[in-house]
Homo-oligomer: 279 residues x 2
Amino acid sequence: MLDGDTADLLRVKRGFDLDAVDPGSTPGFSGDKTDGQAQLDAGTAELAELQERLFAASTGGAADSVLLVLQGMDTAGKGGIVRHVVGAVDPQGVALTAFKAPTAAELRHSFLWRVRRELPAAGLIGVFDRSHYEDVLVHRVRKLSPLEVIGQRYDQINTFEQKVAAAGTRIVKVMLHISADEQETRLAERLERPDKYWKYRPRDLDDRALWPAFQRAYQIALDRTSTELAPWYVVPADRKWYARLAVQHLLLETLRGIDPQWPAADFDVEQEQKRLAGL
Amino acid sequence: MLDGDTADLLRVKRGFDLDAVDPGSTPGFSGDKTDGQAQLDAGTAELAELQERLFAASTGGAADSVLLVLQGMDTAGKGGIVRHVVGAVDPQGVALTAFKAPTAAELRHSFLWRVRRELPAAGLIGVFDRSHYEDVLVHRVRKLSPLEVIGQRYDQINTFEQKVAAAGTRIVKVMLHISADEQETRLAERLERPDKYWKYRPRDLDDRALWPAFQRAYQIALDRTSTELAPWYVVPADRKWYARLAVQHLLLETLRGIDPQWPAADFDVEQEQKRLAGL
């Protein structure tokens, strides 16, 4: 079993040091891969029920929703989280957005504009595969914006996320943390298997060459934007099974915290039963 | 096993008679519920791989996509198809749209306007939970539009769907066909279980009271819009397990027909391997 305080172990707090997190570790979990996969399967039913309750509650007027933000270096496993963790719940309850390089239209707006449009409605679990954090990560590393502008974005993000949280959205931000060695293995696999070529872009290697700069950019972003209402969790991700189990745990904890309830009938049950019997 | 010609058995052809389809039947399948569920599970891996190939092929420039249109009376099981059939593939490859009563903004446009905006991009499996067919079904039954306008819509739909198909989208239209008795059972269950109240709307009974008119509206729509490039399939749906198996089969057949291929590398594999080794 994952320890009950796993979320706390993974949460980014004051003084957090990214370099000190071992990407191969499994905080809060003492089992092996087989145990981990079994626990992931075991958590699926509860996650699916909590998602259905969240959705049902919104039909009764509850404003709660969840937003899972996924960040990480290429091959860190964002897609696997979507497929194996989020994919276990009813697709009707999920709003998934993969953010690519912004379009010309998007660039004419504030960097938060396109993100705001994709926030989950009440009752939904929103998932961002990349996010507004690209505007302080890749922008810092590749100097796509002046440092002064980037410096202001952290505060803009915090203000934005506080408003989103106040409107009823629980924000869970996850950095999937892999090692450079593990990334090499995963990229090499994509270059060895013709059924994986399509996942590979030469640009991935350009980013890899900037590894230390990306790690620094993550450290700064984690320092400046992990807040009480929108915390960051750094999830060691060299072991895919652990990362999936940990993110499932974070979603379960978040949904348990909401504790969504089946809404009461907004009609007269007995009268409707009589009408049905008469038809 | 589902017979190889099941799709043909379910397809709406000239002279089709909706009244002659037994909603409790299982065309092309001689097994029972246990067999059916086992076969549904067995088909999941192939469906997931074909979906991934479809998506991958689009990154190499292929224009193919799939559009599954789901229609049926309330409780017919559209949500169950989404959850148990579509839900088995990677959510990143699915574009799901549930069409509700049109908004004021949507009403200012042609009835196809909001549908066009939700067509699946290349590589995706689009799913419509209700669709532009509401504009010839409920509109006919409830007289929401003049008969003359509705009469023109069938041709407009055919023209529209031919264009969509020509652009690379395989269209699969499914009517989930339940009996009035089975609907009564399912509505009664929603009225008996507090965790199901949220799925019930008194309006469902108003529609139920118009059952024969809805069946006639379906018959007309099926007659006029089942075309070679956008065929209708009427799937008996009193047995949920059969309906799910049949729709999975239709998706499998459609994807096998596309036969999507992993795209070739658009980079020099050996050179990238060398670059990776040097980083």
